[in-house]
Symmetry: D2
Subunit: 391 residues, 4 copies
């Protein structure tokens, strides 16, 4: 029996990705599995409830997944830092870091200048950045009228980023359209976040395995402020031999079946937190995402667009244009636990993307195989690194 994603997701109580014209798209009949379910150990503290970017209160994620015929394997993922309600347009402090700039993330000149993330962060495929970018402006003009005292023109500089899914997706045929963005924004939700072959991650490849969307989180101890750090990645990077899981050379051990288009990819990393960080502190967080990425074996190859963005949902007045907004700031010398949390959640989000993704066949009949769970467990077991699954 074939179960389609929407059904599966509904069964699992997960906010579903909007799958367009994909009635026939087969989805493996499995319950979502995550890296910790397989016994992979991770560092740097406890996860949040969903072990997802949505553990940061207010953050909403919406996917549009496009799987049609033999050639359409793409989509987009929208992250709304303050949800899709009345605060959707309320700016957050934010920052960006480019570990390797072979990619596109629009809107970053203004993030750097203003220290603000205004509106959604959208992840899609390389050739659809333009259409999605202009569509955000259109959506905002219709749905988000200017707030009193707020700026309106900011909607002119949307944040849209990309990785290349041309291995599995007929990327030169413009499948992503404005209504796909609208659907993702309208369906964005808190709670669990579908991973793997969904949204912007639908057609992505990672370390020569099927990749895509992954997410994870960390919650600091109360004595450290009790803050949450959530990470979401669109993982499309890396050569097979480089892959480390739990520090072990898994990519060396599973050499067979590395995908075509190996190392043509990139990784987008979005870091969310509710810790009251100023823009220059968020840039520090964005930079730490590189260290989490490195723990999975990446070297940020020349062809990789490794672009990271961090934002904080604290300081609701960050973008207020009236008076002098009252802010708070976490002192620099209390940031170390946040650095650890970012590194840990980034590493885990990437492994979650690999674990959640399913083998996919697409454009020109190419197939990219998923990381085999049994092989992964065997390797962990053999090296004394398998841990009991979280309850």
């Amino acid at each position: 029996m074939k179960i389609h994603w929407p059904v599966l997701v509904a069964l699992a109580g997960v906010a579903g990705p909007a799958v367009r014209g994909a009635a026939e798209a087969p989805v493996p009949a499995v319950t979502p599995v995550r890296a910790r379910d397989l016994g992979v150990p991770f560092a740097f503290g406890a996860t949040g409830h969903w072990n997802a970017i949505t553990d940061v209160a207010g953050v909403a994620v919406g996917h549009t997944t496009l799987i049609e015929g033999e050639s359409v394997r793409t989509g987009l993922t929208a992250i709304l830092p303050r949800g899709r309600g009345e605060d959707a347009t309320r700016p957050c402090f934010g920052a960006v870091f480019a570990l390797n700039g072979n990619g596109e993330m629009t809107g970053t000149a203004w993030v750097r200048e203003s220290g603000l993330v205004e509106g959604p962060v959208v992840l899609t495929n390389t050739n659809s950045v333009g259409v999605v970018r202009d569509a955000v402006i259109q959506y905002a003009a219709r749905r988000w009228p200017p707030r009193p005292g707020g700026a309106w023109t900011f909607w002119s500089l949307p944040i849209v980023a990309e990785t290349w899914d041309g291995t599995l997706n007929d990327i030169y045929d413009p499948h992503v359209r404005p209504e796909h963005l609208f659907a993702a924004l309208d369906s964005a939700a808190a709670g669990p976040v579908p991973e793997g072959n969904v949204g912007g991650g639908t057609g992505m490849t990672c370390y020569g395995f099927k990749g895509g969307i992954g997410t994870a989180s960390r919650v600091l101890a109360r004595a450290q402020g009790g803050y949450t750090v959530g990470v979401l990645v669109q993982a499309n990077h890396g050569r097979r031999q480089q892959l480390l899981v739990a520090g072990l050379p898994v990519g060396e051990e599973i050499r067979e079946g590395a995908a075509p288009g190996d190392e043509m990819g990139s990784i987008l990393i979005v870091v969310a937190t509710d810790a009251p960080l100023l823009p220059h502190q968020l840039e520090r967080l964005a930079r730490r995402a590189a260290l989490g990425l490195a723990r999975t074996g990446a070297v940020a190859g020349n062809g990789s667009g490794d672009l990271f963005l961090a934002f904080s949902t604290a300081n609701p007045g960050a973008g207020d244009g009236e008076g002098l907004p009252a802010l708070t700031m976490l002192p620099n010398d209390r940031m170390d636990p946040l650095f650890e949390a970012t590194v840990g959640a980034t590493e885990e989000a990437i492994v979650n993307a690999l674990v959640a993704a399913r083998t996919m066949t697409g454009f020109r009949g190419r197939t990219v195989t998923a990381l085999p769970h049994d092989r992964l467990r065997e390797i962990l077991q053999r090296h004394g690194r398998l841990v009991p699954a979280a309850p």
Copy 2:
């Protein structure tokens, strides 16, 4: 009698802007006038033959100007660093600098990372960046098949920048379409460059006067290497009172009629040179554009997207993927004349944009008036700064 731009331009022997569906758009029956024609003095040496970015050999510029009905006042301008022939896709060394990042220039993460400008640099309005960006990818896929040993996927990261023409143009109605980009690229040419209300500058406002496209150049003395620096601006920035011409407070003296939307704008500056500069040296040139801008009185207001890009047409092998390209480099300590040239040509290009622009009425019946040439001459005369026009 009404004379349309294409006719005028043809008469003047100028490569004409492609005016779409604009049969009724009236264009003032005047011969193009430039700042030096009015007796404005400029610093830092001699101009090139056209006093334009096209004085740098190989550089081609194409405009598509969209003037229709009451609400369409926009367009786009494409700069091809190596022309539109077989070298169109040959990368140049390049760099960017953001003086104030309230704007968009796509493709810059890769320019920073690779040190390369690959393909055209396109200037358009804010809300059309996306459609134009995706259209560059489409154009390249069709017209510019991959060169042997060259990368193809670079066409995934086009460079498209914007300023806001929403005062005169109904910017939320998507007038700019892919075919407008194709037309600009197909018509791009060396030689004189139309200025003022053309291409991406069609609906722009500068220091509360009508602004738009401007260009200028400098040629170094033979003892300094004989290099050329050409600058092209899309000028849409500044408050009236700030304007300086030849160091004189012209904006203070001509206070009347400052345009609505004053200081909602931005300026894009593109610096071209044939001096053999490496990417980090070109970043130095891009930074100097800020100093030329400052000489016209600008302070780079918060709302201004002041994004600058510099490229060098030297080193044809800059982007070669085979072997070890042989390069040359101008030593750092010989760069001062290039710095002066960049500052001088930038200042002059901005004043040229103001001088060339014509009064325009557009969206919602708004009118932006041109800098009155007679008033400008009178001010220069009164302060003993009027110089004889260049022959």
Copy 3:
């Protein structure tokens, strides 16, 4: 009656420059004259009471001027953002910008990372950066014991910057010693700031004239927040022909006597404000200093170390290590008057340095002549730009 600088300064209740072993060092018998006294017009609003960086409440400045024999023409200038009292070690938000990095400013890696300026900013000659830097650590260890909840080790990363005075000063003979730093810190004061051949500016050359220390300020209108911006420069940059005063080509008109060592120099610019700006906003202010510099004709030559630093004295808790400091922030879209103030005060501080400096003979009998006040007034007069002196 003629009053010498030291006397005048004492009479005015000003902490005088500490002149070491310079009993015989002649000081020109003139009353301090500033650019506005000569009728030079400046843009962008009203000055503060002293027209100095010390108009920003709390800021203290101390000079040590070393003039001995024929070869010693150097010194150092210390700026204490929060004075030399108990708040001396309380961090400020701060930021830096390098317009041209041919110079040294220690401590900037931490300013960039932390967003904080901790302790004094010291300006001296190129070859004395090291001794002064280590001496700041020693001074802090003795005089400024750690505050409760504060970090102590920060004193390991002092901010010391330089320009090259080797034309007039025997720079390879290490004249600047730790006690000279201690004296400047111990004598730092609010109030008027001696300009010209004092402190770190003692032996400096600017546009081929004698240069040195200059300062100026702007106070915003109440409706704009009433904030103050103060600027202090150590001006040692530029070629004679480049010099503009009030937009006029003064350097072209006064060609004679350009100093040896023309354009081997640099300019340091320190911007202070009491506006509540966050670090990323202060970086924007630091960048605007470049625009003020450009209005004096500079192109930031290859040999110039044009390093700028901005700090805000608002937000006393900026560096608190306990709890969550309560902060305020000026919204980005209210920053334009501060940008104008920074540009205006920077331009004026540079001209003030030129006007205050006196002709000096030093190392190897070299002489650098001062900008002739009468010639300057004549040029302004002739171009209709002379304004009545401020009352």
Copy 4:
């Protein structure tokens, strides 16, 4: 029997560190041991002959080690990119990257601006940066007269970096003097590089174990160009629990005896290569050092000054001031093997520092223990990660 370092080093055929006034300083009577000798596996290819930064032809390293009485545990390490012969002052292309800027590296404004590393790179303790910096200027003025056509004043901007050894060293007592720099420069040599408690690394602490100097290298396959990448670190960073060796949580397993002053430190990483990389490409290499660091578990804590520098010994004309230097460049899309080499050599250099360092007692009787080799081997063995020692 006690054998002092100089003796040991001489016996081992190693260019010895210059130990000043340290006749009584006991050195453990052991042969230098390196991580591969203990069976630690490393990724990304083969090492060079010495597995040291000196595998890059021309690079010379000199240490001055200061161990005296109970309180002096410090020193400095000088790296001469082109050796100490006649090419010592010939500039190299270079670049820097700050992963976390809580540290000092002087001279970097000019490295960023010029793309050049001119003269030595010196590593020392925090409070001695100034004295060493000024001493480089003095040394250069005496020993390295200006080359024809070369700049002389560059010696005004030395590159001197630091980490904090105040746990074991009485850092506020200025032990490091100019003659110590001169000795290191005069003794700098190619060949094997002493590691651990030597030079600038003498008193350093890393992951709560004794740290210090470490080095490693990689040589690319001939098909990849056969280039060499060498790395040298001064390792003084990290919390015990974070330490990973070969991906295994060694710090979690060896919890006892974490040093006082845990995580007050920093790491300096210098990357050398003979691949013909331009400055912007070297910045990419410097950034990859962060990924190697991450593989040892670091998160770049707030208190850490993680400053990296990369240079290329190719392109001997990089800094020529005459004519147009002829250069070559490795294409960007051939850089991946260099990225892997940098990541691999950085990881290995850090573990080499830990393996080479010996337990040390110093200031105030504090002791920092070395990483126990037997425990490390046992952990590797238990997890099936012990490899046969290299021959």
